[in-house]
Symmetry: C2
Subunit: 461 residues, 2 copies
C-alpha cells in the first residue's frame, strides 16, 4: 500500500503542469450563479465537471436539472463492500467578479504571477474541486481507489444552495455514505493544515425602502418628505446597539454559548489576534463585541452585515435628487442553533417596530442556511489529520469558520453523516474580492494530502 | 404702444409651431453639466444659444470660456439711455437623465404627448430661456424693443454655478443693469402666476467612508471589522435628531427666523398644504419639523438630504461581500443667512466628533451657493405682476422656493440689483426626474406674459 501511495504521489508531481492547465480551463468559465446573464455559463461548468468525472471512469454520471442550476452526481464504487463510502462535495459556481477595475488581470482569464494563479474561482473553489479529482486521478492511474466514492457538485453554493437543500432529502439513498468531504473551508495560514469543525449559517435579504412615487427635486420637496436614502440609513443604523450587538428582537435567544474550553482553543490559534486580523484586512481598527476575542467575533458569533447600498444618483458630480427608493443587501451570519426562517421573522419584527409611517418597506429573502458544528473525532477527520501530518509535518489546527457552507448542515440532518471540512485556500487569497488567487505550492501539497487521506481512511477500517 | 404690444402677441401666436420646433432642437442637445462625457454637448448648447442671440440682432455676442463650461453674453441696447437695462439670466445646462428606464420616451428626443413636451431640460430651463428669446423676437419683428437688454447664460447652474460666481464680480461693468430677470423658478400651479422672492442656497458634498483596504468575504471577517456601508448609515442616521432637526453643530445659528407675517402669507398660498404635498410627491406621509408648516419646511427652512448612496454589491441576487468603502452624496439646502463655507465646517466638525476610529472618511465639496431673499416691491416686480394680470387675469402669488439659483445672491452682492424670479414651469413637470415635461399652453401664455412685461417695465419709468 505504501508503494502504491508513493507511486500516486509521484504521478501527481509529474502531472502538476497538466493539472494547472485543466484548472485554467475550468476557471475560464464565468459560472456566476447569482447573475441571470451567466446561466448558460453555469450550465457549461456543470457539463465540464461531468466530463472530468467520466474521464476518470466514474459511473452513473448525471447532471440533474434543478429549478436553477444543475447538480452533478457520479459514483465510483470499486473498493468493495467493506471499504467506506466517501461523499465528495464541491461547487462549480463562483461569486461575481465586480468591481472589475480593481483586477490586475482578467477575472476569467487565469494568469500565473509568482507562485499564484489569479482568477475568479481559482481558490473558491474550482481549484479545490480539481485538487480532489487530481488526487483521485493519481490514485486510479497508479493503482486502484481503496475507498468507494460518490460525488455531488452543485452550482448554487454562492447563492445559498437553494436547490441542493431540496435535492439531498429527496435522494437519501443515492447519497448514502459513511462520511462527506468538503474541501471548501481552507487553511488558517500557509503551512498550517486546518480542519474546520464549525461553520456559520447565512440569512441574506434585500431591504427596499420606498418614499415618494417618483424621484423629486431635493430643493422643491426636501425637508417635507422623508428621504428614503436617509430612512434606510436610519433603519440600518438601528440594527446594532452601542455595544455592537445586533438589535433584531430575539436574535441571540438561540445562540449556543462558546464554552470556556472552546474559547481557550480558539484564542490559541495562530494568526487570529487583533494585529493579524488588521494586517489581513487593512482596516484601521478592530470592531465588534468587546466580550469576545476577534477570532470569536469573526467565526463563532452571529453578525449582521450590509453587503450593498444603492439609492439616488451615484455617478460623478452632483444631482440634487430626492430619490424615490433606496436598497440595501443585508445578511446575517448565523451560529448554532439559530434558524434562518426565525431570523427573517426577527428582521421583519424589527422593521415593523422601527420603520416610520413616512416610508414603505419590503424585504426579499435571497438565501439562507443554518450553521453547523461537526464531530472532531470521527475516523475520517483522524485520517485527514494523519494525511496533513504526512505531507506538512505539522499538527492540524481545528477552527470554526465565519463563512457558510449550508450543505454541511444538510448532510448532518438528512444523511446523518459528519463532514470533513478542509481545503487549501489561504486567508489572503482574496476570496469573493478582486484578484482572487490560488497559491500553487499549497495547492500541489493539497493534492498530495488528499492522496494520503484516501489511503489512510481505507486503512482506518 | 398698445398696438405694438398687440402686434407682438399676434406674432407670438402665429409662430407657436416655430417656437416649439426650435425648443425641440435645443433640448436634443444633452448638455449635462455634471457629466465629463458630455462636455462637448454643453459647449454645443452654448454655441446654439449664441446663435439664437445673433439671429435676433443681439450685439457683442461672446462665448466666454471658463474653467469648465462657457458663459454666453450679449447685449441689445437700442432703447435709448432713458430706458432701463434688464439683465436676462438663464442656464442652458441640464441634469443627468438617469434613471433612463423610467422615461417613457427618449430624454433627448423631445416628444409631444397631449399638452406636454417631454424631454430633459424642457422645463428646467431650456423652455424658459426660449420663452424670453421668443418674446423678444416677437417684439423686435413687430416693432422695437422698449427696454435695453443684456444676456447672461451659463452652463453650470445644475452644478452650482462655480464659474459664474467668479465671472460676475470680474465683469461688473459689462453686466451693469437696473434689474435682472430669472425665469427659472416657475409657477405654484396651473393658472397661478408666481414670483419667487426667496431661494434656498445649496451646499453639496460627497462623503466617502473607507474600512478594509479591499473587499472582504463577509463570512470570513464579518463581526470583527466595521462594515463601511453600516458605518456610513450610522453617520448619516445621526445627522438628524428625533425632531427631524439637522444635528451638524451650529447649523441653525445663522438661520433667519420666519416672521409671523411671512408665516401667515406662506401658509395661505394655494396648493401647499399637507394633502397637496402628498399628492404631488406620492409619499405615504408628511415628514419634518413639527413647529413649521409643510410649505415652510420645503421652502423657508434649511435641510440636509441624501442624494445618493453606493456601497458593495448592488447587482441582482446576492454577494456576501464586506465592502471596502461606501459613498453618500449629501446636500444641504440653506436659507439666509447661512454660509456654504461655514456649513462645510459644520459637516466636518460633526464627522470629527462622530466618526469612529474603525473607519476613515473624506469629504469632497461638490458645489455651494448662498440663499437669497429679494425685494417684493421693485419696479420690475410690479411690471411682472401687471403682465401676469394682463395675460392670466389672476393675482400673482409671492412665494419662497426650496430650490437654489445661486446667481440671484451673486447679482445682489456684486451688481447691487434685485432679480425678478419667475417662470412657467409647473410643480408636476418632473424637474430633475424622469419624464421631465413642459406644459405647452402655459408656456405659450408665458411668452405672452414676457411681451407684456417688457412693455410694462418700459412704461414704469
Amino acid at each position: 500500500m505504501a508503494d502504491l501511495k508513493t507511486a500516486a504521489i509521484q504521478y501527481a508531481h509529474d502531472h502538476q503542469q497538466q493539472f494547472l492547465e485543466e484548472l485554467k480551463e475550468f476557471v475560464s468559465i464565468p459560472s456566476i450563479s447569482t447573475e441571470p446573464d451567466n446561466k448558460d455559463d453555469v450550465q457549461r461548468a456543470a457539463q465540464w465537471v461531468a466530463g472530468c468525472l467520466k474521464e476518470l471512469g466514474v459511473e452513473k454520471v448525471q447532471v440533474f436539472p434543478t429549478a436553477r442550476h444543475p447538480i452533478v452526481y457520479g459514483e465510483y464504487l470499486k473498493a468493495g463492500p467493506s471499504a467506506p463510502v466517501a461523499l465528495i462535495y464541491g461547487h462549480y459556481d463562483v461569486q461575481p467578479a465586480e468591481p472589475l477595475d480593481l483586477w490586475q488581470s482578467e477575472p476569467f482569464q487565469a494568469q500565473v504571477r509568482g507562485e499564484n494563479l489569479y482568477a475568479r474561482g481559482a481558490t473558491d473553489m474550482k481549484g479545490q474541486v480539481l485538487a480532489v479529482l487530481d488526487a483521485i486521478e493519481a490514485i486510479i492511474r497508479t493503482g486502484s481507489m481503496p475507498v468507494n466514492l460518490k460525488f455531488i457538485f452543485e452550482g448554487e453554493e454562492e447563492i445559498g444552495s437553494p436547490n441542493l437543500s431540496h435535492f439531498i432529502p429527496k435522494h437519501k439513498e443515492l447519497l448514502a455514505c459513511d462520511f462527506a468531504v468538503n474541501p471548501d473551508t481552507g487553511m488558517i495560514g500557509r503551512d498550517q493544515p486546518t480542519i474546520t469543525y464549525g461553520l456559520r449559517g447565512l440569512a441574506y435579504y434585500e431591504l427596499r425602502v420606498y418614499g415618494p412615487d417618483h424621484d423629486l427635486h431635493s430643493g422643491q420637496f426636501g425637508g417635507g418628505i422623508h428621504n428614503p436614502a436617509q430612512a434606510i440609513c436610519e433603519l440600518i443604523a438601528g440594527m446594532h446597539d452601542d455595544t455592537f450587538k445586533v438589535t433584531l428582537p430575539g436574535f441571540y435567544d438561540k445562540v449556543r454559548p462558546i464554552s470556556p474550553e472552546e474559547h481557550l482553543a480558539l484564542i490559541q490559534l495562530p494568526g487570529v489576534d487583533e494585529a493579524s486580523v488588521l494586517k489581513q484586512t487593512g482596516a484601521p481598527a478592530i470592531y465588534g463585541e468587546a466580550a469576545y476575542a476577534p477570532i470569536e467575533r469573526i467565526s463563532a458569533r452571529p453578525t449582521l452585515e450590509v453587503n450593498g447600498l444603492l439609492s439616488g444618483y451615484t455617478g460623478s458630480g452632483s444631482k440634487t435628487v430626492l430619490p424615490a427608493w433606496a436598497m440595501a443587501k443585508i445578511s446575517m451570519r448565523l451560529v448554532p442553533d439559530q434558524d434562518p426562517d426565525e431570523v427573517e421573522g426577527q428582521l421583519r419584527a424589527y422593521l415593523q417596530a422601527h420603520a416610520p409611517k413616512t416610508i414603505r418597506w419590503e424585504v426579499i429573502n435571497m438565501q439562507g442556511g443554518p450553521a453547523a458544528i461537526s464531530d472532531r473525532n470521527s475516523l475520517a477527520v483522524k485520517a485527514m489529520v494523519k494525511a496533513f501530518d504526512a505531507v506538512w509535518g505539522r499538527q492540524t489546527i481545528f477552527r470554526r469558520e465565519g463563512g457558510s457552507v449550508p450543505v454541511v448542515a444538510h448532510f448532518q440532518q438528512h444523511l446523518k453523516v459528519e463532514t470533513v471540512n478542509t481545503g487549501f485556500s489561504l486567508p489572503d487569497d482574496n476570496m469573493h474580492g478582486p484578484n482572487e488567487k490560488l497559491h500553487l505550492p499549497t495547492w500541489y501539497k493539497g493534492i498530495d494530502t488528499l492522496i494520503n487521506f484516501f489511503y489512510f481512511v481505507a486503512d482506518s477500517r
